[in-house]
Subunit: 254 residues, 2 copies
């Protein structure tokens, strides 16, 4: 049985903890965090510790802390045996330098306490300072997920940037649509099946092929009417810029 | 059994035809279109007609034609008994004026020939010129869907505009992410679970609450690094504008 210490009490820590609880191949021997109250939503037998000096021995130390804290926490644990890995999309593996065995264990998903996730379909991106460490991180990842990818820090940074485009920004566009609905006495629920299908479609079609709408077919009349209807200046700007980007992306090459 | 004539052979016509085939409460007595070849993907017994003068008698004439053709086609069918309804998100009900009984039958979904859809969860927005016509359109809609909403032309226009924000624009952002992945030897498949969860989340959380990411937490350092990493000038602009819009939307009120 692999022994894991989880450092952190945020959403990633929470969901990793829950996922490891579903397998008897891993034992979470300790959860380490500054604030014991943050654990109220964690369920099950938890050995909790607030002092980084009292971290137990384990095969893996998973640092699910904020990006800015990774390096400092790693420094305090550098004499531990076992593999230390952070779970961040944007922090370089070099932030862990100083330990013998270190790497990255990055589950590419958005985590919210309220929403259960199926870890088996979440890509886990791994990286390590040695072949042995990579191999062992890969084995840990494969216990949780069917999709384990060794990728470099540079590639991971690009994935993290891409994630902003497929998660943060679309979610904000949903919020704009919710505002429009609210302003016109419409339930946002009306749009949820469309949102679901928008995501579903690109499982089978590449997004370029899946593109539809007035900008795609250069329907200037509809676009102008939409712009006239939008009240908020920033929403108008967003409409114009994204429409222009769609037009450019689909322009026939001469 | 309700008799329906479908005018049009595009994606909406195709999926309506398929959906009506699954119920014995409706018989599609005719599909009318200019081009017989467009029917090659329709399956089953189809009575096809290219001449609008030879449209059969039916209880409903569903006009699944392009927005610009609605009014002209309606004009040619105005002496038909039965209810004429267009399926467009953005055309006013007034485009059908001249018939006795007319209305709108707008399924709020994105349709692609390649992707099967479950009509029972697709909201169908209806509108009609009389109470009787509204009642009958509602009954037809309820055969296909559990979510039937009577809404006005103005509300429908706003929904159609919202649909651009939750479908066309997010899909384009997926395309930008696909470009970044391609440029860095990463499979776009890595992002698909995240895209699925982004859509899934807002079934339970309102999009404002679901917002995460560097712009949401005003993480200027990460945003600057992302901007530096983006190669395409339009992608930079999109990143800046959407981040600014997220910042504004989440600014604490004084």
């Amino acid at each position: 049985m692999l022994k894991v210490v989880i450092i952190g009490t945020g959403n990633v820590a929470f969901h990793l903890f829950k996922a490891f609880q579903t397998t008897d191949k891993v034992s979470v021997v300790q959860v380490v965090g500054r604030n014991k109250n943050a654990l109220s939503s964690f369920e099950g037998e938890i050995v909790f510790e607030t002092d980084l000096k009292k971290v137990k021995s384990a095969d893996f130390y998973l640092l699910a802390v904020s990006d800015t804290a990774v390096s400092e926490v790693a420094q305090q644990l550098k004499d531990k045996t076992g593999i230390m890995a952070h779970t961040s999309g944007s922090v370089s593996i070099e932030a862990l330098k100083g330990s013998d065995s270190y790497g990255v264990f990055y589950p590419l998903q958005t985590f919210t306490k309220e929403c259960a996730v199926d870890f088996s379909v979440i890509p886990i991106c791994i990286e390590a300072n040695t072949g042995t460490a990579l191999d062992r991180l890969g084995k840990l990842a494969a216990i949780l997920s069917d999709f384990v990818y060794p990728i470099s820090s540079e590639q991971r940074r690009q994935l993290h940037l891409s994630a902003v485009f497929v998660n943060n920004f679309p979610n904000h566009l949903f919020n704009i649509a919710a505002t429009i609905c609210r302003d016109h006495d419409l339930s946002f629920d009306l749009l949820k099946p469309l949102i679901g299908e928008t995501a579903n479609k690109i499982r089978f079609l590449d997004p370029r092929t899946a593109q539809t709408g007035p900008a795609r077919r250069n329907d200037i009349q509809t676009m102008q009417r939409h712009l006239d209807e939008l009240k908020h200046p920033l929403h108008k700007k967003i409409y114009q810029l994204l429409s222009e980007s769609i037009r450019q992306a689909h322009e026939e090459k001469l």
